[in-house]
């Protein structure tokens, strides 16, 4: 799977502090750490970028590109910052993201065309976030059709189904998987990505990785092309390199409803099985799901 490293994120206090004080070294270290971990893209999440978007984006893109030679995913709600960011990219960038909202289609989407960028298109619309596979399909087809009409081909579009925290709505993990499975049929040629860590928002911090990694395995089997993820999670990157085949096989067995002899498994493997059962919707989520 293509991994977009999420670690340069404005919500992180260390990152927002470094950007404010123009601490190039701190940002470059984060970029290099992700590069060494093996990510394919580096996401620069600038948030809404309301204050001084031009100078901030210029500085950040320049700083990161001076340290690593990876394509960037420019992630901001500000069309001004997006324009500047895309313009400066040395390698073909990813515009992250546009949605079916009128404002986004009008102000953000044309930038993808202008800079010939690839573009993340989410299922959000002015009506909100669709909550099942079928309504996700309905809203994405409309938005992608609009992008096509501007001359952006399916091959340049990365569909984001919008993943909600398992803690907020457990059924969403399953709905997103269903949607990813049908995506090639409804929009041939499109790619897919999503914010993986959002799954574990609000869950116990030390257990977030377990949810994220298990779900990445499940998504991979559904045909997911890419995830925006924590590049510094070593196990996550190892799974993606194919270095944990026995864990992957176990998760697949849960997905197939096969019976599993829990007593014969090491503790870590049992945790993956329990987590897969939660994400499949078989076990009710609670913060103590691993002790269940």
């Amino acid at each position: 799977m293509i991994i977009i490293g999420e670690n340069i994120h404005i919500i992180s206090k260390a990152v927002s502090g470094a950007i404010k004080s123009r601490d190039a070294q701190a940002i470059q270290e984060l970029a290099m750490a992700q590069s060494q971990a093996g990510v394919h893209y580096i996401d620069l999440n600038l948030g809404p970028a309301t204050k001084d978007p031009i100078a901030m984006t210029e500085w950040l893109v320049k700083t990161v590109q001076a340290a690593v030679d990876l394509p960037l995913s420019i992630d901001t709600l500000s069309p001004v910052a997006m324009d500047v960011g895309l313009k400066m990219c040395k390698r073909r960038p990813l515009l992250n993201s546009i949605s079916g909202k009128a404002d986004s289609k009008e102000h953000m989407l044309p930038l993808a065309k202008k800079y010939s960028a690839e573009v993340v298109v989410s299922v959000l619309t002015d009506k909100g976030c669709p909550m099942d596979a079928a309504s996700r399909a309905e809203s994405i087809m409309e938005t992608v059709a609009h992008a096509n009409s501007l001359g952006i081909p399916n091959e340049d579009i990365w569909v984001d189904p919008i993943l909600l925290p398992v803690n907020a709505d457990q059924s969403q993990a399953k709905e997103v998987m269903e949607f990813i499975k049908i995506l090639p049929d409804i929009l041939p040629g499109v790619k897919s990505t999503l914010g993986l860590s959002n799954l574990s928002n609000g869950t116990p911090p030390q257990l977030r990785g377990m949810l994220n990694r298990t779900y990445m395995i499940m998504l991979g089997r559904c045909g997911m092309y890419s995830v925006i993820a924590d590049a510094l999670d070593r196990q996550l990157m190892a799974i993606n390199r194919g270095e944990m085949p026995e864990i992957v096989k176990l998760v697949y067995q849960v997905m197939d409803g096969e019976s599993i002899d829990m007593a014969s498994l090491p503790a870590d493997a049992r945790d993956y099985v329990k987590t897969a059962r939660v994400l499949k919707g078989e076990t009710l989520y609670s913060h103590s799901w691993l002790e269940d």
Partner: protein, 303 residues
């Protein structure tokens, strides 16, 4: 030509634990079903009907509507006499609310509350449920003492919440009672609390109180949480949701202005809430008005 139709019959794999409260001749079994609530048409058994308890207070309530006080007018200041009267009205169990123990009320000391609980428990021919004061700290102190003084009576004591369950559960187990585990309208947190409690407490002695909002004030949330609790337990065999449910609804109903402003309306408010939550899967409902109890029993064909 005739068309053959055979209604599908569900067979479930999970079961709600059967819990007995009380001792000797005054016991009550709740739960035990391995089918969804009232699904008599599916495979499985529903061995125990839903039960109805009446609320009794340890002090004269200050803010009850006049028509809820009426049935108890002559006994309102005497919990033992009040309890006896409530039994006469047909309650399967009583739920004694230790309102006076709250620091904001009379702040009755735990020892005095415990003695009072004991005298009520001994005076009535039905099992006793005890709800301690809202204040978490005080509630823990009170319930620990009640558990100790009423040793071996197998009362149903609560509520234990995430802030105080450890000390309460320990005393409840040590002195031979059952425990009410309470969370606020969140099925994930409900399961979380059950997992934590059951690390050192037998699940066969836990009753879930997911909170019971009333008609017009979130009844549908309470309904869907009870409904899902039963589904995860009975259909998906979730070990940590297979406890019987208590719907402590009298207090939430009679707080509303609708119930307070009109006698018949109040009765209906409580009755509709009770019927809804029993249909959702509550195994025992705590009501405040004896007449609602009578109506609900008639509706469900309960003795």
């Amino acid at each position: 030509m005739t068309i053959q139709y055979k209604a599908p019959i569900e067979a479930y794999t999970g079961a709600v634990r059967e819990i007995t409260i009380g001792t000797g001749s005054k016991t009550l079994k709740m739960g035990g079903e391995n089918a969804l609530p009232f699904h008599f048409f599916d495979q499985g058994a529903i061995p125990n009907p839903p039960h109805l308890a009446l609320e009794v207070w340890d002090m004269p309530p200050g803010d009850w509507a006049q028509w809820v006080l009426e049935p108890y007018q002559d006994v309102i200041a005497d919990p033992v006499a009040w309890a006896k009267k409530a039994v006469e009205y047909g309650a399967d169990a009583l739920s004694l609310h230790l309102a006076s123990a709250d620091p904001g009320a009379a702040d009755t000391p735990p020892e005095a509350s415990a003695e009072m609980v004991k005298s009520v428990a001994e005076a009535i021919p039905v099992p006793l449920i005890v709800y301690g004061p809202d204040d978490e700290k005080k509630n823990a102190a009170v319930l620990v003492k009640v558990a100790e003084v009423c040793q071996g009576q197998n009362l149903l004591l609560g509520p234990a919440v995430k802030e105080n369950y450890e000390v309460i559960a320990k005393a409840v187990l040590e002195h031979g009672h059952c425990l009410i585990a309470q969370t606020s309208l969140d099925i994930n947190l409900m399961k979380e609390l059950n997992i934590k409690i059951c690390k050192s407490f037998p699940p066969e002695r836990v009753v879930i109180d997911p909170e019971s909002p009333t008609l017009g004030y979130g009844l549908e949330y309470g309904f869907s949480i009870m409904e899902r609790t039963k589904q995860t337990g009975v259909i998906f065999k979730d070990n940590m949701t297979q406890m019987p449910i208590i719907a402590n609804l009298g207090s939430t109903c009679w707080k509303t202005k609708e119930a307070k402003e009109n006698r018949k309306q109040g009765m209906l408010w409580e009755g509709i809430t009770a019927v809804s939550l029993l249909l959702a899967g509550a195994n025992i409902a705590v009501l405040r008005h004896p007449e609602t109890l009578r109506h609900v029993k008639t509706l469900f064909g309960l003795k």
